[in-house]
Point group: C2
Chain length 457, copies 2
Amino acid sequence: MTETKKIRTDVDNETFWREVGLDVERHDDLIKGLPPVFESVFLTQKNRPEKISYFDSFIQDLHGKRPKEVYDRKNNGDKVIGAFCAFFPEEFVHATGAVPLVLCGGAEFPIADAEKILPRNTCPLIKSSFGFKISNLCPYFQSADLLVGETTCGGKKKMYELLGEYVPTHTLHLPHKKDEALSRNLWFEEVKKFKGKVEELTGRKVTDEKLLAAIDLANRKRLALARVYNTRKADPVPISGKDVLLVMQLALFDDAERFVKKTNELAEELEARVDRGEGVAAKGAPRVLISGTPMTIPNWKLHDTIEKSGAVVVTEESCTGTRYFTDLVDTSDASSSDDLIRAMAEKYLHINCACFTPNNERPVDVVRLAGEYKADGVVYYVLQFCHEFNTEFAKVERALRAVGIPVIKIETDYSDSDRGQLKTRIETFVEMLKASKASKAASVSKEAGIKASATGS
Amino acid sequence: MTETKKIRTDVDNETFWREVGLDVERHDDLIKGLPPVFESVFLTQKNRPEKISYFDSFIQDLHGKRPKEVYDRKNNGDKVIGAFCAFFPEEFVHATGAVPLVLCGGAEFPIADAEKILPRNTCPLIKSSFGFKISNLCPYFQSADLLVGETTCGGKKKMYELLGEYVPTHTLHLPHKKDEALSRNLWFEEVKKFKGKVEELTGRKVTDEKLLAAIDLANRKRLALARVYNTRKADPVPISGKDVLLVMQLALFDDAERFVKKTNELAEELEARVDRGEGVAAKGAPRVLISGTPMTIPNWKLHDTIEKSGAVVVTEESCTGTRYFTDLVDTSDASSSDDLIRAMAEKYLHINCACFTPNNERPVDVVRLAGEYKADGVVYYVLQFCHEFNTEFAKVERALRAVGIPVIKIETDYSDSDRGQLKTRIETFVEMLKASKASKAASVSKEAGIKASATGS
């Protein structure tokens, strides 16, 4: 645990940070907050899987080791392409040997800087990302040769216009509808145009062969994550929601091949735990599905509150969750370069983002996931001022109530100001889930008793 | 003035309201608030043009006379098509003899009802519109056979999904970009599809001849509004900003032919005033341009505050302003039905809505309008939680500062809770404009004095 406190005093990092143009003095203030939070949220957990240590060590030097690797690649002529969203077609980036990074900001620290330009009434993720860049507080951002935005929401698309004044930014035109021929074609052409953009930036051609290999790599990453998630269907659950969230968050930062290897190692350990009936929470602990907006490092607030209330998070219907990995790029019918790109474009349109209208697949998906992961209740998570996910709650809530699954909506930002209120609401919800489980169990055993006496057994 | 107080006691209206399914008891509470506000905002003004009386009388029976006319048309077999936005291609509606209405909600009253389903953190216009429908508080809404939404923002597009559960709703897919071939084509096809929708609903064909006549009608409405606006370039200005806002707001409710006639009559009177040098504000009064989100009845708060502070509003860069009427549908090169539709589609894409990314034409346009209307300052108006217009402020502000025009951003909702703060901020801004005008005038006259003494004249 003392390791986590070393970050601030790592002199090598400081030299590196100065070289890449970080505002080192302010960055010190930012980064020193991380170890105590990480310790309190993660390291106090009991019976964690051993293989999570790789992901712990990644976080413990988040702004050191991995950014240095990225800069090594950059110094060797590879470009770095940063993005903010699950709609980012990372396959082209892999195919040109460039480095893809997903840069969403999850920290409160740079928000005050962003609010000098962006409205306060905007989603914390948007303000945090923008603040990280304009204040030179993130080595990943510093490394990017190109940033890739997308038109998922009004706040983001307008922020990207302003971000483009600091660093080259390409905004993918994601249409509002996913079920119309013209929209699908527009998106296909947009993905194809992005391929050209990556080729131009890197000076390297995306051959079919390289693209197939890149698709395979991205698919293997998705499969490794799906494999970890699959173990969470067991009761007792072999890993905490927090730990899986950490893995998900690092999927967006780490080297893809290494990440696949480490995630599969973790999955293997978890599968063995499931076989042994070993869990991190007691069998029968209330199981929570989180559905909604993504959570990026170090946004661990909601998981932490839920799991410290005695429940366990068993899945995330989120872009830092199932929406990121569920669909693979299916190239089995592809017989041309355009077919490969179309397969990619289609995969991304299957992400049930609330930015689509309508997005009727999402309530269905949340109900399906709640069933598969045996969730006792759903916490619907909305980053403050996200109109899309916030308004879509009405439909998801209705779908869940129709099958008798309790749901609570939590709208919050990155600040600590609502921590007390959040804790109270979550604890009440978890108590309600416990009471409901106990009453169901009692009624099942009563029924079993009646049956037993009726049959005389 | 006593006329305005009659609304509540109009027994004929009450019978009508019951017939069309209004919640009459709650509607009484809603409508009784209007006369005192209208009196305080409008009827206390001095030296108003005579021809504004038509528009006054419209408001004084807002939920009576005009909705009855609409129902008479409906009972005669004409359909009623309601919309919420300047992107609504009203020409098809005129062409089929149906009644177009733009239904945006500008009242606080139904918002509490809407917030039972929609997030509180959403734009008041969205909540008000939705609340009016679900609570049966608006006879215009009651009359609509079809509502037409559009994908201008996340809050609206997701609200339309829910609205569609109460009344048939068709959402136009407006793309995020206006300057790409595929986007323009998607929008053209979307407009064309809407023509089919209107034909299907009304059972009437949109022939080229009828469409040309409808385009001509809509263009004449735009020209009549432009003619009124043009008189506001004079100093002293012949009409208050409030009165023009009233005209703009009714452009969306009134019978189009009658509205054109009445608006041209008003324009004629204003032109005569300009010729005589007659104004509603003193010559030299600070001139304010309002730029931003639309204002629908009875949202008169900002204009009222500005004009009661001693300034005059000389133009609105808004969808209840120049964005509504500036561009005409140009059919001069059209030689087919598709050409006519394409001309319409192109006109609508010229609306510089902040929903587009980028929307670089808008800052340019605000600066141009400030020059043409000799604005001393700009009040940038944002309906609360409108990410698009709020974020775009950064660009508009920069463009205005570059040419030395002061600007203040006002973000507000429909409540009265910020009236005091709003008044203070606006008064301070207007005092600053006055001081700046006085100092400029002094420096001009000093310079003139120096020149005069230098030339010995």
